[in-house]
């Protein structure tokens, strides 16, 4: 079957349909809004997806359902927005008209000082309000992990978030009240065609389907596949790299599917952290905290598990945890699929077991054995929205005599790739699960890793913490006393 080609992208921007027939592969949404459309309510604070001043909402359809999510416009490519609805702060209140409830709440509680971060906070809180009209303080903080404010100390912003539902009626919100119409408009933009635009360094493509993606990528194995652009976005905004030709994935519903069977869960490579969270936290409650501490909400809305793996970062948010679970990667080239264990996918720094033209199609996570004990610990300078200094993941199976029958330990931040601790595992397997055994395994970690010193942590700290995390894991199995901070809900 031949694929039909369209050479424009179409999306809703606030209340208007926009069709662009000339747009560069590296055109960011933020620059498009500010420079091309003169919509200057959305601000640039960092251009790397960390401060949230550029937060906008992007509505995407999946199986007829429309969900609005906060995203960082600074690292979101315009080319990826075909078929989406983009909502910016400029559209929330009519000039001279009443403020939107989120805006009114922010004004009432004195939640803005310099005001530069404020549009981003408004949009993050708007996204939260639509999903969760009466959030707890912890839920508010989670929604605001990707929004930095340097003036207020946040207390007033939290008060604003709590006040939104008191002064506003969600059912009367335009994006809620007009949802059916908007869905119809967005459905109308779907024509099943492949999008191809631009030339040279500006060239990008939106495959019509996963099969089409396979064809495109096999034909052009040097193309850059971009899912959430939470890392590749920075290659452009920070390093001004030429990433062409770009192949976007985020519009492919097929890659956003999740399949659960008796043995585990298979996540399509385009499933975002946010989309995977309900099933992850249900089946792997030990991963809840890790998932909640990946980037900020905007990054979790954009970033995908598949992208996190294919990217091959030495730290990796999810790989240590998934390696310890025995996860595998489904790779595809053309019509050929193969499955490789995740741990062997990472070969060395910057190198993965991926052939030219081969892409990550899905990630398969097996359920834990009933007698397995599993934990993941992420250690960072700042609790939230920070990259691990060390991330340790542990899965141990004990036999009926209390001996360790199997041990899988993986760390991020300790080597050029997320890597298993072979020596430590060896020290545990077959041994009794005692403090002496654990201390031997802790010592063995020194033979597993030679970590680096950098701005996140010194080599000494990394090794010391890696050892202590194993001790933490042990102490948690003993259950005598709290060995982790009780992350209390703020009042």
């Amino acid at each position: 079957m031949t694929v039909q080609i369209r050479s424009s992208i179409r999306f809703l921007l606030n209340h208007r349909l926009v069709e662009l027939s000339a747009v560069s592969a590296v055109q960011t949404l933020l620059d498009f809004l500010r420079l091309d459309r003169n919509l200057r309510g959305t601000k640039e604070g960092c251009a790397e997806g960390d401060c949230g001043a550029c937060t906008v909402l992007v509505g995407r359809l999946l199986d007829g359902r429309l969900k609005y999510e906060s995203v960082n416009a600074c690292i979101r490519f315009v080319g990826s927005l075909d078929g989406c609805h983009i909502v910016t702060v400029d559209s929330l209140a009519v000039p001279g008209g009443p403020l939107h409830p989120v805006q009114q709440a922010m004004v009432d509680t004195h939640a803005s000082q310099c005001g530069f971060c404020t549009p981003g906070f408004v949009m993050s809180l708007y996204g939260l309000w639509m999903e969760n009209p009466k959030p707890s303080v912890t839920e508010i903080e989670k929604a605001l992990q990707g929004n930095l404010c340097r003036c207020t100390g946040y207390a007033a912003i939290i008060r604003a978030a709590e006040a939104v539902s008191v002064i506003g009626d969600l059912d009367r919100d335009p994006l809620v009240a007009e949802r059916v119409t908007i869905i119809q408009k967005l459905e109308g933009l779907k024509d099943g065609k492949r999008v191809e635009m631009g030339e040279g360094a500006e060239r990008f493509m939106l495959p019509a389907s996963v099969d089409d993606l396979a064809d495109i990528y096999e034909a052009e194995p040097k193309a850059r596949i971009v899912a959430g652009s939470t890392d590749v976005g920075l290659w452009v905004t920070k390093f001004m790299r030429d990433i062409s030709p770009v192949v976007h994935l985020s519009h492919l519903d097929e890659l956003r599917r999740i399949a659960v069977d008796e043995a585990g869960i298979t996540f399509g490579a385009g499933v975002s952290y946010t989309e995977s969270f309900p099933l992850i936290s249900k089946h792997f409650p030990q991963l809840t905290e890790l998932w909640n501490r990946i980037g900020g909400q905007q990054v979790r809305n954009m970033g995908t598990i598949g992208g996190n793996i294919a990217n091959g970062s030495p730290i990796g948010d999810t790989p240590p945890a998934l390696i310890a679970l025995g996860a595998s990667v489904v790779l595809r080239k053309g019509k050929v699929q193969r499955t490789v264990p995740l741990e062997s996918f990472f070969i060395e720094y910057g190198k993965q077991d991926r052939q030219p033209g081969e892409f990550v199609e899905a990630v398969r996570i097996p359920f834990l054995d009933e007698n397995a004990r599993y934990a993941v610990y992420k250690i960072t300078k700042r609790l939230d929205e920070d990259i691990s200094a060390v991330c340790g993941a542990f899965r141990l199976i004990f036999d009926e005599n209390g001996k360790v029958s199997d041990a899988v330990i993986a760390y991020g931040g300790m080597a050029g790739t997320p890597k298993r601790a072979d020596n430590a595992e060896a020290a545990l397997i077959g041994a009794s699960w005692t403090e002496i055994t654990v201390e031997a395994a802790m010592e063995a970690l020194a033979n597993d890793y030679t970590p680096l010193t950098d701005w996140r942590a010194s080599a000494d700290y990394r090794l010391l913490v890696a050892k202590n995390l194993l001790r933490r894991f042990y102490l948690e199995t003993q259950g005598d006393e709290p060995v982790r901070l009780d992350r209390k809900q703020a009042v």
């Binding site: 000082q113 530069f116 971060c117 007033a156 609790l383 006393e481 703020a490």
Partner: protein, 778 residues
């Protein structure tokens, strides 16, 4: 009985919880920042080319690839400077706009590319080829001292009493040292300047500057034109915190040079990485101290040296290191004292003003001495604090010979100690730590006393311009800049109160050197004190004319003319404000006035280290409780209680916002915000991905912030209020000390924990390990 008639109150007068004047614009994205201003057609964009070496001679620069890049119009170097290649605010001629033959830090500007778009300029700047010859470099303050690096400016010594005799008398003497990290401002809006050339030598600049007058003078100096040719305009900044006091000057100068050279509007906005690499930060300090004390913990003598990483030039390092010394006593009387500053040159970006201006580093050093004394004696640090507070016969003189006359720290501490239940909670913490092996807790209650006034006496002046238009609307302009602190709101409240009109009758307009000249930086927490007074003065001049006019016209005595809410009462008659103004205009009464204010009483002799540098002090205290994971060094602030003194608040809601915000910002400085240079002298924490300021989830889990509502400034400040910008920044010293206590628990509190700042999880864990080893060894 004589019953007072109830009189309506104006809306938005002083002491009211008025909203920020731009709040509704912030939330809708319609508050205009400089990058939001529509650009005239043909606007060009500048982008800086930065040094890739920490210290090197420049052998050659090849601009061919830069100039041939798409969209490039030209390149600016020092050769294009028509005036002086210098923006040194200290007038030391050590702060070039563009480096010429030598670079002195990694990130120093060497040239600027001018192009049709910002993206084109930025891409082109990266194409330069520069040949360097490396020179030895030093980034660390102690290494700089060891390498005999010079001081960037004359040091200060404060001395009182006889320390030799003091130490001889002291039963106990301890010595110690501490490192205190710097801090990036991380204002959300980065630096920006937008220049529009005018006729002849004239130029208009929109600049993100806290100090429009200095920016005006610096642009004039660099262009080689008089100040009257340069107009600086600042409506608002997206945060500043001191980072835009002098650091805006370079960007303004580059935009101005380019605008004049190419005869069109030019905008310059560095990206976040360049902003953090090429502009100054809070000074890192090393404090070496010796303290003598008796067995109760009463201090006899203090000898301390504060060495600062100043960077490659003087900038404001002189007054910053001075202020560190001014605050090394915090609330404590030192009978014999010698404090010395060492403002050391390093091959790093020139450090600059940052909220507190050296005061926080001085105070952290002072509090560390108290903490050490307490651990040496096995006592609660709070007990040592109370013992040493200023107060009592002969115990009110600071190391700089100013008498503390307005001391209220005793009452603040007493009230906070009670309201936060300090004693019982400390007992709980100690009990918890006895049974908990991994998680440890700490609690600390620390005071703040902060001196208010610029130590450079001439800065303590301000101007304002008030117009009353014939329709009764009021236009207010003053020399202070709005960076989020709510200055425009507070000053407008003052003017509303003066005229007794509703706040919405007053429009505050963008700060501009064309309306109010020779202004001081909006810094040193002085914005409302100075500009509020100047605006009140302008309003009073107009009012005086109106009163004279009304008395004459209506034939009443001047004392029978009164400004009542939105009304003028003349004898028995009441006239609406706008009607009265219309009449006054018709009678040719001048309805505009320039106001002025200078702070009284202050004087300072730096060479003698004596004087009264501060008009008054602001006080506060906080109590923080933390939990620390002794396996990883991670921690959480479980609870903080704050009681802070703002005198009689002009606007309690805004002041609470300042206190909360300062606390969290100060907590970030002392905990997770770490500046990290690599061996090549490159700052590697230069973006939010690597430099971690607090998030909402880092707030204390319980955060009770209260103003000392009973406090009234004993000095005649604007409506008896006190400055609020900087003093609360030092409240979170309690967090650092509480973490220290949790760490100290692993050695049964017998060893002073000596935790350096910032107390990252790594520093906390390594301190715990050190304490464990020390406890084991003896």
């Amino acid at each position: 009985m004589n019953v007072m008639q109830p009189i309506d109150r104006i809306r938005g007068g002083v002491h009211e919880n008025e909203r920020h004047e731009s709040g509704h614009k912030h939330v809708t994205g319609t508050a205009e920042y400089i990058d939001d201003i529509p650009e005239p057609a043909g606007t060009l964009h500048a982008y800086l080319g930065l040094s890739q070496r920490a210290h090197a001679q420049i052998l050659s620069i090849d601009f061919d690839a830069v100039k041939s890049a798409p969209g490039v119009v030209g390149v600016l170097t020092a050769d294009d400077i028509t005036g002086e290649n210098d923006v040194s605010p200290a007038h030391k001629h050590d702060d070039p706009v563009f480096a010429t033959d030598k670079v002195e830090f990694h990130g120093q500007p060497i040239f600027a590319v001018i192009a049709e778009t910002r993206d084109a300029a930025r891409r082109a700047a990266a194409r330069v080829k520069i040949e360097y010859r490396d020179l030895p470099h030093v980034t660390d303050v102690l290494e700089a001292a060891a390498a005999n690096y010079p001081l960037v400016i004359d040091p200060l010594k404060l001395e009182r009493g006889d320390i030799t005799a003091g130490f001889a008398r002291a039963k106990n003497i301890l010595e110690g040292e501490m490192r205190i990290g710097g801090q990036d401002h991380f204002y959300l809006e980065g630096h920006i300047s937008f220049a529009i050339p005018g006729e002849d030598d004239e130029i208009l600049l929109y600049s993100s500057t806290q100090h429009p007058s200095e920016t005006q003078h610096m642009v004039g100096q660099v262009l080689g034109v008089a100040s009257n040719a340069v107009t600086i305009n600042v409506r608002r900044m997206g945060g500043a915190f001191g980072g835009k006091e002098t650091q805006a000057n370079l960007f303004a100068a580059v935009a101005a040079l380019a605008a004049k050279k190419y005869r069109c509007a030019v905008k310059i906005r560095p990206d976040r990485d360049d902003d953090m690499t090429a502009t100054g930060k809070r000074h890192d300090f090393h404090v070496g101290y010796k303290v003598g004390f008796d067995d109760d913990g009463r201090i006899e003598a203090v000898d301390a040296t504060f060495s600062a990483r100043c960077g490659f030039s003087a900038d404001l390092s002189g007054p910053v290191t001075d202020r560190a010394l001014f605050h090394a006593d915090n609330c404590y009387f030192y009978p014999h004292v010698r404090l010395r500053s060492r403002p050391l040159k390093t091959n790093t970006v020139s450090n600059t003003a940052f909220r507190g201006f050296g005061g926080p580093q001085g105070m952290v050093g002072g509090e560390r001495m108290i903490e050490d004394v307490a651990y040496a004696l096995g006592k609660d640090p709070l007990e040592i604090r109370k013992l040493n507070f200023y107060g009592g016969e002969g115990r009110n003189l600071t190391p700089y010979h100013q008498t503390v006359e307005d001391n209220i720290i005793g009452r603040i501490i007493e009230e906070l100690e009670t309201s936060c239940d300090y004693a019982a909670r400390r007992a709980d913490v100690l009990a918890f730590n006895r049974k908990s092996n991994i998680i440890k807790r700490g609690i600390a209650l620390t005071p703040v006393k902060f001196g208010i006034s610029f130590t450079k006496t001439e800065y303590n002046q301000a101007g304002a311009l008030v117009h009353v238009y014939a329709d009764g609307s009021i236009h207010l302009n003053h020399g202070g800049t709005e960076m989020g602190q709510g200055l425009y709101t507070k000053v407008a409240q003052v003017v509303a109160d003066e005229f007794q009109v509703d706040l919405n009758r007053i429009k505050v307009t963008a700060t501009t050197t064309g309306k109010v000249p020779n202004t001081s930086a909006t810094a040193a927490s002085s914005g409302s004190d100075l500009n509020g007074m100047a605006a009140a003065n302008a309003a009073q001049q107009i009012k005086a004319r109106l009163v004279t006019f009304a008395a004459e016209r209506w034939g009443v005595s001047e004392k029978d003319v009164a400004f009542e809410p939105n009304t003028i009462r003349i004898g028995a008659e009441r006239i609406a404000f706008s009607d009265f103004i219309k009449i006054a205009y018709g009678s040719r009464i001048q309805l505009s006035a320039a106001g002025f204010y200078k702070t009284p009483k202050i004087h300072w002799n730096r060479s003698e280290g004596r004087g009264r540098p501060f008009f008054y002090y602001a006080y506060g205290a906080s109590c923080s409780e933390v939990s620390v994971d002794t396996l990883t060094g991670e921690y959480q602030v479980d609870r903080t209680d704050v009681l802070h003194d703002v005198g009689k608040s002009l606007n309690p809601a805004l002041d609470i916002g300042q206190v909360e915000g300062a606390f969290v910002q100060g907590m970030g400085w002392l905990t997770t915000e770490e500046l990290w240079w690599d061996a090549k002298g490159r700052l590697r924490t230069h973006a939010p991905s690597t430099y971690k300021i607090p998030l909402a989830s880092d707030r204390p889990r319980i955060f009770n912030v209260k103003l000392a509502e009973w406090s009234v400034n004993r000095e005649e400040t604007i409506r008896r209020s006190k400055a609020v910008g900087e003093p609360p920044f030092m409240l979170p010293i309690s967090v650092l000390e509480a973490i220290s206590m949790a760490a100290a628990s692993v050695a049964e509190y017998r060893i002073a924990p000596r935790l350096d700042a910032p107390a990252t999880p790594e520093r906390v864990l390594l301190a715990i390990e050190r304490l464990r080893r020390a406890a084991k060894n003896g």
